[in-house]
Amino acid sequence: MKEAEIRRLLAANLLCVFTVILTVVVPPFFWDGFTVLGTHLAWLCVCSVCVSTLNIILHLVLKPNLSPKRISFAHKISRFLKCCVYFFMSCILFHAIIVLYGAPLIESVTETFLFAVLLSTFTTLQCLCMLGPNLQAWIRVFSKNGATSIWESSLQITTICSIFGAWFGAFPIPLDWDQPWQVWPISCSLGATFGYVAGLIIAPLWIHWNRKQLTYKSR
């Protein structure tokens, strides 16, 4: 059971990694002059859209949180709307946090907002897929020993890795190397992406190594 679950997780995560790589490699064939650094905003859009669609599809196919009850259609719609609102709110919140961290308030709003959207895709969207619009569950998952399944452990790891990636991505900005990737927000979004990819790869491996110690309390 557990082994199979881990294998499924690994497959799903590898698919995500693959998508991220595709967003870098594929668009230049259709789009002249598309590069991650040169047309960064376009890449940000492409990457967020692809990763979010993939996540939603994976969620629909795999259904990791088995909900036993049948939910009414109206309830589903309201859930979906709630999810959208939550996602938008998280974008705004990330934007606010980035500005508080020192990003310019008025200039380059688009850059900052798209970066916030990317971060939300890497973090909030996954949470929404996995846990639904249920803040209590979110807080439970993100506290110590709060995960109740390997999916939730994986969620923890990828989210934390993405945010750490973005955090570390800010470090090269003050350096005076005049590199093209030091322009706001390229280093941060690249950092977040690398963190996300690393998290996706690390999560199944970490769960695999620690499968003896990991005993999930049933709810």
């Binding site: 508080l100 961290y101 803040l135 807080i139 955090w167 003050p174 005076d176």
Partner: protein, 933 residues
């Protein structure tokens, strides 16, 4: 001997301060110089003799002067674009015309940092590169003893007249036949300083009894300091300067004789940065114009000036001739000039390099080759050969000479960085030992008893102690007898040196014994639970990583320039982590487990406390964000939660606002900031309003707890602060519009004494204020860790240092703060006031920390001890690492522009932290005595 960890920490810091002082003394080089000019100097070298037999030139005299009279107009803080840029065309038409017409030679001179007036004057007059330590001496200028242009001019009988900044009069006492020094004391004075210079001009220009006239105009610098380079005041000032130049030039032309023309030199001592200050190495600060205007030109400068005046080149000049100025002379004369220049440079290089490198220096080799061919050329010349070949040969030699001069000059500039490695090493050893000792004693010092045994006389170590002492003494003797270079540590009296050596050995023994004890302890209870990282909270993790990240970032020059970014980043992360912890506690643990409500409360209190002090400090920076979370005492239970959740966000928003108050650093310093918006003249009313509101807030927040007398005193003090600001013109009185008389009266009333009183009161009251507010708000029982609180306070203090607009460059030190309330320059109060103004942020946070920790003293008697220990540790780690880094990077390109100022800041910070720690310990001791009674 038993020691409390507070006492231990402060004694450690005292030793560290000694180490830092030694290191700084060794690091800042003794400026390069030739033998004192008091010695009989040799005759100028003759023209080089040809290698073989032949006629030998007997031209040993200095070439005759090129100009009769020279006027040097030094305009303080004249940036290159003020003359050559669009501003110059607009406001300095006469000068711009002179540049275009070709009656002048214009250059852009690159001033070497530190770009501060006094070192720059020294550099201009001696041609040497100023020692970095000169900045500290900038305020009081001792007489310049090195060989310099003024001395040369004086001894060769030139009559010099000087008007302007009295730094010159102090630097060159008794050299001027006539002088009038104006003090640059009041930075807010834009007109008087210049009128004091100009009023002599008409009279002097009519007279014939002078050869060199030096004028130093300060008004532009003052305008820069107060309002920045883009202020509307700059234009009229430049125009005024242009008119003066025109007047001088026309008068010089009218008196010109056929034989010898006159020369007008226009230069700036340094530029100004985008914010209007100077001292650093940004482009605006180092680039200054240099103009030679004379009718002789129909078609650096100490050397050039000397040649122009027919003087020997000053001995310590590392500059080279500005070639085009002496063009147009005969080939023989030209060669003579470059030979003199090269000879002087190579002699300087020889005197300052060790023997084995002397011959291998490429510049020296070049010079020797050129000299040889010069000799041959002279031979040909004296033999009467006057053909085309001779001319071409001469040109070739000239090229060789210029090449040699270039290399000589650059290798001399490199040579300036001479370090007193031995003193540095001794200092660094002390600092590292103190750090090790502090690190090793962490577990003991932070234990619940906060006391530990200091092993002073175990017999084994006493033997070791004597051994180490002996070895070190031997090393000291060997080093001091063998070293050729001047070494500060060797020049100390042997008693002091032995004292320092004993200190080092004592520290060494202490470290060894602590290590031994740690080993013993770890061997005995093997089942001692190892502190694993799993029971570290997020805050602990963040604190450790943050400290590491900050320390490592000090290795990169751009991270030093932008250090404020590091701190803002860390502070923001800290707030977010606190927020996360709060969220978890509030939403999760409460339901699951009612025991945790105390934890929630504890966290809420901590947050509330941080937000309080944040708000209070906002007042200090004239930002009245107060009132959002005024008194947290009367919250109902439910609103508790929400306010505690909101407080990190409020802190974050305040931080963001404060951050936009002052743009500091280098890369983004030119960005417009809120502080400039406020201080610009159009927004005076807003500024006055903000200042008044914030002062009122201060008053109302504090007065509730005060007695009537102290209330009145405080009100007067705050009023004094405001009227002081009004008197120097920063803010306006509301009734100033009504009548000028009142404001004039007020200005008279607010004479210096009142200013002094007001400022001292301001300091006292603000300190008192912080104390009272802290004790008032932080009354709740907290069981938070004292170490965490201390480190958070330290971080916030660091961030506030930069919020205030400070940076790691010297340009942002507000020297004017040192003159508040003083009538003349007094060294000690000025230094004290400047340091206080610069480090106000960290100091206030430290005071707040002390109040906070001692307020819960009844509960936890070791909190202050823990706090001061942590404070010492937090300061020692970056200093020790930075000193190692700087030693490693001492030949880095940016050593003088980036790393050295930072080193000075770190050093001063250590001294201040030592004072704080001593204060802490004294308070703690008092308190414990009281408790015992």
């Amino acid at each position: 001997m038993r020691l409390r960890s507070g006492v231990f920490a402060s004694s450690c810091l005292l030793m560290e301060a000694l180490g830092v002082a030694l290191f700084l003394r060794g690091f800042f080089p003794v400026p390069i110089r030739s033998l004192s000019r008091r010695e009989v100097r040799g005759d100028p070298p003759a023209e080089p003799a040809p290698s073989g037999p032949g006629m030998v030139s007997n031209w040993t005299k200095i070439p005759p002067p090129l100009f009769k009279k020279v006027v040097i107009v030094l305009i303080d803080a004249l940036r290159d674009d003020f003359v050559f840029g669009s501003k110059g065309k607009q406001f300095m038409p006469y000068t711009a015309q002179a540049v275009e017409k070709g009656t002048s030679y214009s250059f852009i001179a690159e001033a070497k940092p530190p770009t501060v007036t006094m070192p720059r004057i020294k550099a201009l007059m001696t041609g040497s590169i100023p020692g970095f330590i000169d900045v500290i001496m900038n305020l009081n200028s001792p007489a310049l003893l090195d060989d310099n242009l003024i001395w040369q001019a004086k001894t060769s009988g030139k009559r010099i007249i000087f008007y302007g900044d009295d730094t010159w009069v102090k630097l060159f006492p008794k050299y001027f036949v006539e002088y009038d020094g104006t003090t640059s004391f009041f930075v807010s004075d834009f007109t008087e300083v210049d009128n004091n210079v100009t009023r002599h001009l008409d009279r002097v220009l009519k007279r014939e009894d002078w050869d060199l006239l030096i004028l130093h105009y300060l008004g532009l610098d003052h305008i820069g300091h107060m309002t920045g380079p883009n202020s509307p005041l700059v234009g009229p000032k430049l125009n005024e300067m242009d008119n003066i130049l025109k007047k001088i030039h026309t008068s010089l032309i009218s008196k010109e004789e056929a034989s010898l023309p006159n020369l007008l030199v226009v230069c700036g001592d340094h530029g100004m940065s985008e914010t209007g200050s100077h001292g650093g190495s940004s482009e605006g600060e180092v680039r200054t114009p240099l103009l030679f205007i004379s009718s002789a030109f129909e078609k650096r400068s100490a050397s050039t000036l000397a040649v122009c005046l027919g003087l020997p080149i000053p001995r310590n000049s590392v500059g080279k001739l500005i070639w085009p100025v002496v063009g147009g002379k005969t080939m023989r004369e030209q060669l003579r000039f470059v030979h003199l220049n090269g000879f002087q440079l190579s002699r300087l290089l020889q005197e300052n390099t060790p023997v084995y490198e002397k011959e291998s220096d490429p510049g020296y080799e070049h010079f020797k080759i050129a000299e040889k061919s010069h000799g041959n050329w002279i031979k040909l010349y004296l033999e009467g050969n006057n053909s085309e070949i001779l001319l071409n040969f001469g040109k070739k030699i000239l090229k060789q000479y210029l090449e040699a001069l270039k290399t000589l000059s650059s290798s001399l500039s490199k040579q300036v960085a001479q370090y007193d490695v031995y003193s540095m090493l001794v200092g660094a050893v002390i600092i590292m030992e103190v750090l090790l000792l502090l690190l090793l004693s962490i577990p003991k010092a932070l234990s619940s008893r906060a006391e530990f045994e200091v092993p002073l006389s175990p017999p084994l170590f006493s033997l070791l102690f004597y051994l180490i002492c002996l070895v070190l003494c031997a090393v000291h003797v060997i080093v001091c007898t063998s070293a050729e270079s001047l070494c500060y540590f060797c020049s100390l009296s042997w008693l002091t040196a032995v004292g320092v050596i004993m200190l080092i050995s004592v520290l060494m023994c202490g470290i060894l014994s602590t290590i031994a004890r740690v080993f013993e302890n770890s061997r005995l209870p093997l089942k001692n639970p190892v502190v694993s990282s799993s029971n570290w909270s997020e805050i602990d993790l963040l604190i450790v990583t943050g400290t590491l990240v900050h320390v490592l970032s000090l290795g990169a020059s751009s991270f030093i320039e932008e250090e404020h970014q590091t701190w803002y980043f860390l502070i923001n992360t800290l707030c977010l982590v606190l927020c996360q912890e709060l969220c978890r506690n509030n939403f999760l643990l409460k339901e699951w487990d009612p025991q945790h409500s105390t934890a929630v409360k504890r966290n809420f209190d901590r947050i509330g406390e941080v937000s309080e002090c944040k708000n209070i400090d906002m007042l200090g920076t004239r930002n009245s964000k107060l009132g959002k979370t005024t008194s947290s005492a009367e919250f109902i239970k439910d609103s508790d939660k929400w306010i505690s959740l909101a407080s990190p966000w409020i802190i974050l928003i305040c931080c963001r606002l404060l951050r936009s108050l002052n743009q500091t650093g280098v890369q983004w310093a030119h960005r417009p900031d809120f502080g400039h918006w406020l201080t610009s003249s159009e927004h005076k009313s807003e500024l006055s309003f903000l200042a008044a509101v914030s002062l009122l807030m201060v008053f109302f927040l504090v007065q509730r707890r005060c007695s009537l007398v102290s209330k009145i005193a405080m009100a007067l003090g705050l009023l004094g602060v405001y009227s002081y600001r009004a008197a120097i013109g920063n803010v306006i009185f509301p009734w100033q519009h009504d009548s000028q008389d009142i404001s004039k009266n007020l200005k008279n009333v607010c004479n210096y004494k009142e200013k002094c009183a007001g400022i001292i009161q301001h300091i006292c009251t603000s300190v008192q204020l912080y104390k009272t507010i802290m004790t008032k708000y932080i009354w709740r029982p907290l069981n938070c860790d004292a170490t965490q609180i201390t480190i958070m306070h330290y971080w916030f203090g660091q961030a506030f240092f930069y919020f205030q607009g400070n940076s790691n460059g010297l340009a942002t030190v507000d020297v004017t703060a040192g003159f508040v309330g003083l009538e003349s320059y007094l060294e000690i109060p000025a230094v004290f006031l400047t340091a206080f103004a610069t480090y106000a942020g960290p100091l206030l946070w430290a005071i707040h920390l002390l109040c906070y920790l001692s307020s819960e003293d009844s509960r936890n008697s070791v909190a202050v001890s823990h706090g001061s220990f942590c404070y010492a540790l937090m300061r020692s780690i970056p200093v020790a690492i930075y000193i190692v880094l700087v030693t490693g990077l001492r030949y880095h390109l940016f050593i003088w522009s980036v790393f050295s100022p930072k080193l000075l800041y770190e050093g001063v910070h250590v001294f201040i932290t030592t004072a704080i720690c001593l204060f802490f310990t004294a308070m703690d001791q008092n308190h414990s005595h009281k408790v015992q009674d």
